[in-house]
Amino acid sequence: MTLAFAAGGVYEAFVPILEVWYWLLALLYQLTGLDLINPEYTFMYRAILVGLCVGVIAPLIGTFLVHRQLALIGDALAHTAFAGVAVGLFLNAVLELSVSPYLTAVVVAVIAALLIELISEATDAYNDVSMAIVLSTGFALGTVLISLNAGGLAVGINQYLFGNLSTVSAENAVIMLGLFSVIVATVALTRNQLLYVTFDETAAAVAGIPVAWYNRIMVMLTALVVVGAMQIMGVILVAAMLVVPVAGATQVSRSFSESLLVSIVLAELAVLLGIGISYYAGATAGGVIVLVAVGIYVLSVLAGKVRQTGAPDEARELDSISQD
């Protein structure tokens, strides 16, 4: 009861932001006449808002994951989030509740994230096997729950698997705003520690940073990103947004802070272009966004190569060791 009241309070707090967003896009429509942001299609307003949030939080967390060579953890958690969606749909059908499947997905994905972390702590390594086990268990649980009550549950499951712009409700947009706030605030607060643990775990431990706790924070944040991004990306493609923009930014950035910024810019570019193309072409947004992101990645690789070949003197200089 208290939880429901608190959730209601959080929802009310974010509604004004949603209204300001509607007003801004309506104004932009008046100025540009873009059909994509026609006020008659407010679902697109919410989809764009969710997409823009994904464009920030996915590379923000992905940057830390990719550089710890944990790119696949997002995929594992996305599949467990699918189990969470199935749990939510199952509970709603059996107990006649009206809980958002995204909220149950958050709970299940966070539990799975901690499970992966605990397995890795117990075995002293993140390994493919533990991730594969968690991934398949999550997906298997999801499919079993769906098949148990196939009549009602099979309907609408595609939106979770592949994402759907038109099904982003006001409630789901508010959930995303909540997730966005938690993720950005946590990274802003713990950026020093996350960077140290990402770059050199042993040195971070020697420096007194409780590495295990920050690893847990990181996988839990990943779970939140995955659930948030699932709405438009779908379970199958959500991990791409954690990895592809970061891989592109790594090619062209000269520093870590620059790579964070560039990865967000590349992700936003992919999201906006992807949503635009999918709207006018009538294609699935998640797939188009990923294809655009991969296209941007290829361009980034080429730009990186051009930069390298343009600076041969620098490479030679670095080969010689200065003696002090």
């Binding site: 607060l189 020093n192 960077l195 050199d200 040195a203 020697v206 670095l318």
Partner: protein
């Protein structure tokens, strides 16, 4: 205060007690420490005391427990028996991370992380600033540390673009930026070219001259004998603990490494 080792297995160390300054403080204190990842101990009955200002090298063949010993004294592992203290505090509970600088074996890694030398060295200030931002004074310390290791010209270069020797100097700068009292280096010159190794040891020498305690885990016996004041030879147990000049003539060298080792170090001349 007299600094002694208390291992019952060392060779030549009884005569090798080192007179040290009365005012010196114990930085590392291991007493009867044993540890094993399984029921077989990796290190056994180790007692070592290292005072502030010493330059100590730990040597031993592959699998001798050098890195485990390092992790025990840094509090990254908890002893199965015995006690490990860092700056007078139980090592696993030690939380003043700024006092210890750690340099790992880095050369040859192929990490693609786009991070500059300055961003790496900046991490040395993290134990001081916690969740906050670096102040102008912190940045001045960072730049001074980079300058001390002679890397100012490379401060904004990506660390992955540097040679092994330059990279290790950046990691030392990180320790300096933290204003560490103890510098722990785990085989820092693996994969580093000879020319850079000499420059690297020159830097360690000057830091030691400025009062920093240096604990070096090293595979290169010749380098150890040339640069460190004191050698601890480990092969599960301590075989030798004493002045490096005495190490080459000790029976411990042959016991720990085999008879060929004395040729490698130019011992028994």
């Amino acid at each position: 205060m007299k600094m002694t080792t208390r291992s019952s297995h060392r060779d030549g160390a009884d005569e090798a007690t080192i007179e040290s300054n009365e005012s010196r403080l114990s930085v590392v204190e291991l007493a009867d420490v044993s540890f094993g990842y399984t029921s077989t101990p990796v290190v056994e009955d180790i007692s070592v005391s290292i005072d502030a200002g010493e330059y100590v090298a730990v040597v031993g063949p592959n699998g001798s427990g050098k890195s485990t010993l390092m992790q025990l004294l840094l509090g990254l592992l908890e002893p199965d028996s015995g006690t490990a203290e860092l700056f007078g505090v139980d090592a696993t509970a030690f939380d003043d991370g700024a006092r210890v600088g750690y340099v790992a074996q880095r050369a040859g890694t192929s990490r693609e992380m786009p991070i500059t030398v300055r961003e790496v060295v900046k991490m040395g200030r993290f134990p001081h600033v916690g969740f906050g931002r670096l102040s102008a004074a912190d940045w001045r310390i960072v730049d001074r540390a980079i300058d001390t290791v002679g890397m100012s010209a490379f401060a904004d270069r990506r660390i992955t673009q540097l040679s092994g020797g330059q990279r290790q100097r950046a990691f030392i700068a990180r320790a300096l930026a933290g204003e560490a009292d103890l510098l722990v280096l785990d085989e820092p010159t693996v994969g580093v070219d000879t020319e850079s190794v000499d420059a690297f040891y020159g830097l360690l020498e000057s830091l030691h001259d400025n009062g920093i305690t240096v604990l070096l885990i090293e595979h290169d016996l010749q380098a150890v004998i040339e640069h460190a004041d004191r050698v601890i030879c480990l092969n599960r147990e301590i075989y030798f603990d004493g002045p490096s000049a005495e190490f080459t003539d000790s029976a411990a060298l042959a016991r720990a490494f085999g008879t060929g080792a004395q040729t490698l170090t130019g011992g028994n001349r």
